[in-house]
């Protein structure tokens, strides 16, 4: 067993850590208040290469591997979840459909644009009637000569308002549905009939928007089916493959936030004096800190192990990825709760970042597959292994 992180990855982590400290920490509250990331910061993110972590070098990316991507997400998530979300769709769900199943022409066209951050990609699967039951999409696509015509409404689409292109899942066969009736398309924002709808009002995750995407007789060329005509009807598989990898990076984000909450809690416990002593001297506080650190240690090692399995063994980590997402996001939510408790009244105030982490982390147990869906995936794999 070798737990050494390569020199390259350590250097990358150093750069991101420094960027977080110098450029992101000072504006984190401003981003929260204004609900937007300043453009000059996004430009630095492009220059640093953060939009192309996962994309292969052939298409202008860095190909840092799963562990590399997780380490970067971990660092970025120590400040404010919206920064990670900004790069998240290009590295993950917004580009992976094309990267995994796209034709060579589609890869050459879209991947370099997304890897550089010039374009933002998004992933449009969820609909009002298709959440965890993702196969229940109602959006339709019909072939009319040389164009596909899309009609329907997607919602909760991360980065939808700023996206230049979207991976859209639509019914091409109402009878077959997920078993051969759903097709994945790339839709560009300039396509006629493509509209950005309402920007949703969320509990947290300010600075990152999720919104409706509306397709009203939206006409796109025939060659926008991801993977070409042979992939018509196979879009649901593309969606599932795309979501698999994201589960590890979601775990990494939760881990980064949890680590930050532990550090904030230790600092606060040392300086907050009650009954004449810092509260860090109280066993009740010490036990909370000990539990937080222990959970983080466990989470970090399962995440790194799963990432390492995926990078070096090339094995499928579907079950492990679901375990990582389930464990890390639940762990981080528990830690956020303890961090608020340690901070007491101050933990409930918007002047302290713990309140924001508490709200932002709640989403991690819901999006890109709820706790319950992760358990379904884990159990299904467990039961299939015995066959």
């Amino acid at each position: 067993m070798d737990f050494e992180i390569s020199e390259n990855l350590r250097m990358m982590v150093d750069t991101v850590r420094r960027f977080v400290k110098q450029d992101l920490e000072p504006i984190s509250q401003q981003v929260e208040d204004e609900d937007r990331i300043p453009e000059d910061v996004v430009q630095t993110m492009r220059e640093l290469g953060l939009f192309g972590l996962a994309t292969s070098e052939k298409y202008g990316g860095l190909e840092v591997g799963t562990l590399g991507e997780c380490l970067v997400y971990e660092e970025l998530s120590k400040v404010n979840a919206c920064f990670r979300t900004r790069i998240g769709t290009n590295n993950g769900i917004g580009s992976q459909g094309v990267a995994i199943d796209g034709t060579e022409e589609q890869r050459e066209k879209y991947l370099p644009l997304m890897a550089s951050g010039e374009w933002i990609g998004c992933f449009a699967l969820t609909e009002p009637e298709a959440g965890s039951d993702a196969s229940n999409v109602q959006t339709t696509a019909e072939l009319d000569g040389d164009t596909w015509v899309l009609n329907g409404r997607k919602h909760f689409i991360t980065n939808g308002d700023i996206a230049d292109c979207a991976t859209v899942f639509a019914l091409t066969d109402r009878e077959k549905k997920a078993r051969g009736g759903i097709t994945a398309f790339v839709v560009e924002k300039t396509d006629p009939g493509y509209f950005v709808g309402t920007i949703e009002r969320k509990m947290g995750m300010r600075g990152s928007h999720t919104c409706e995407l509306i397709f009203d007789d939206c006409r796109i060329p025939k060659d926008r089916v991801i993977g070409g005509d042979a992939m018509i009807g196979h879009g649901f598989k593309t969606a599932m493959k795309t979501l698999d990898k994201g589960r590890l990076t979601m775990g990494a984000s939760a881990l980064g936030s949890a680590q930050k909450l532990l550090e904030l809690s230790i600092d606060y416990a040392k300086q907050r004096v009650q009954f004449g002593k810092p509260i860090a001297e109280k066993q009740a506080i010490q036990f909370m800190l000990a539990d937080m650190a222990t959970q983080i240690y466990a989470a970090r090692h399962m995440l790194y192990h799963a990432a390492w399995l995926r990078d070096t063994k090339g094995t499928s980590v579907i079950k492990e990825a679901s375990m990582v997402k389930l464990f890390c996001t639940n762990m981080a939510n528990k830690i956020a709760d303890m961090a608020v408790q340690i901070h007491g009244g101050m933990g409930y105030m918007k002047d302290f970042p713990v309140e924001r982490f508490y709200r932002d982390l709640r989403l991690t147990r819901i999006y890109e597959g709820t706790d319950e869906i992760q358990r379904v995936v884990i159990a299904r794999n467990l039961l299939a292994e015995g066959k």
Partner: protein
């Protein structure tokens, strides 16, 4: 323009420094090592000059194997190649001895400009750049916050007590960089990937024909004194508290 930037690897300023058992050196066990922050100004300035005027940037560093990491950071920022003078025993050596070795490594590179940080944040000696200038027979412009290079001449500005002095010399010259010269760029992720493929040459002092000669040595290192405990101001009423606070500030803290 052929530019050399000398860099030193130092403990990260956020590292907790502990004095080793010998009382003369630091315990390096838990230290995170980084490029001296002042040297980053030198790297950045060199990269900007080369971008405008063309040329090549070579970074040179001396010390144990770990120094390669600082050199790679400079390569990731955009420098073209690196020379590592490997000597496991050099950290904490007499700055003059280090300067002699650097001069030997720099000379064959025939630079037009040699950059240093104005001092290293670990030992604060600030001697090496001047000594290298002497060994190379070059003029030195020290503690520079603004620089222009044109027509074989260099013009540098140094701040002095609310004023500035502008210095001029002909090339080649040694420049030591001060905070304010520029905003150093990040070692970007694409830069880090590219740095792997850039040439990094390792030389021993023997390869350079350099003999180590220390004139001074560190006698003792003393830790900073423990911080005095805080003092609670006594008093029943606001007036009493304020009077006692004023008294403490005047008589004990001596700040008013």
């Amino acid at each position: 323009m052929n530019i050399v930037v000398c860099i030193k690897q130092v403990p990260d300023t956020e590292s907790v420094i502990k004095i080793a058992g010998d009382g003369k050196s630091i315990d390096t066990g838990d230290i995170k090592w980084v490029m001296n922050p002042y040297d980053e100004f030198g790297v950045e300035e060199a990269l900007r000059i080369v971008k405008d005027q063309g040329g090549e940037v070579t970074v040179v560093g001396a010390g144990p194997a770990r120094v390669v990491e600082a050199l790679r950071t400079a390569l990731a920022m955009g420098a073209d190649k690196a020379v590592h003078i490997q000597d496991d025993d050099l950290y904490g050596a007499d700055p003059i001895a280090v300067a002699k070795m650097l001069a030997k490594a720099i000379e064959p590179l025939s630079p037009d400009v040699v950059f240093f940080g104005q001092r290293a944040v670990d030992d604060d000696s600030g001697v090496v750049s001047s000594a290298v200038a002497e060994y190379l027979g070059m003029p030195q412009l020290s503690v520079i916050t603004k620089l222009e290079i044109a027509d074989g001449k260099v013009k540098g500005t140094r701040p002095i007590e609310g004023q500035t002095v502008v210095l001029e010399a002909s090339l080649p010259a040694v420049i030591s960089a001060q905070k304010g010269l520029n905003e150093p760029r990040y070692a970007s992720l694409p830069g880090i990937m590219k740095a792997k493929k850039k040439p990094l040459e390792t030389k021993t002092p023997a390869d350079l024909g350099a003999e180590r000669s220390d004139f001074i040595e560190i006698a003792t290192l003393n830790p900073p004194p423990d911080r005095a405990p805080g003092k609670t101001v006594e008093g029943e009423t606001a007036q009493e508290l304020a009077a006692n606070l004023a008294k403490l500030l005047k008589e004990e803290a001596k700040v008013i």
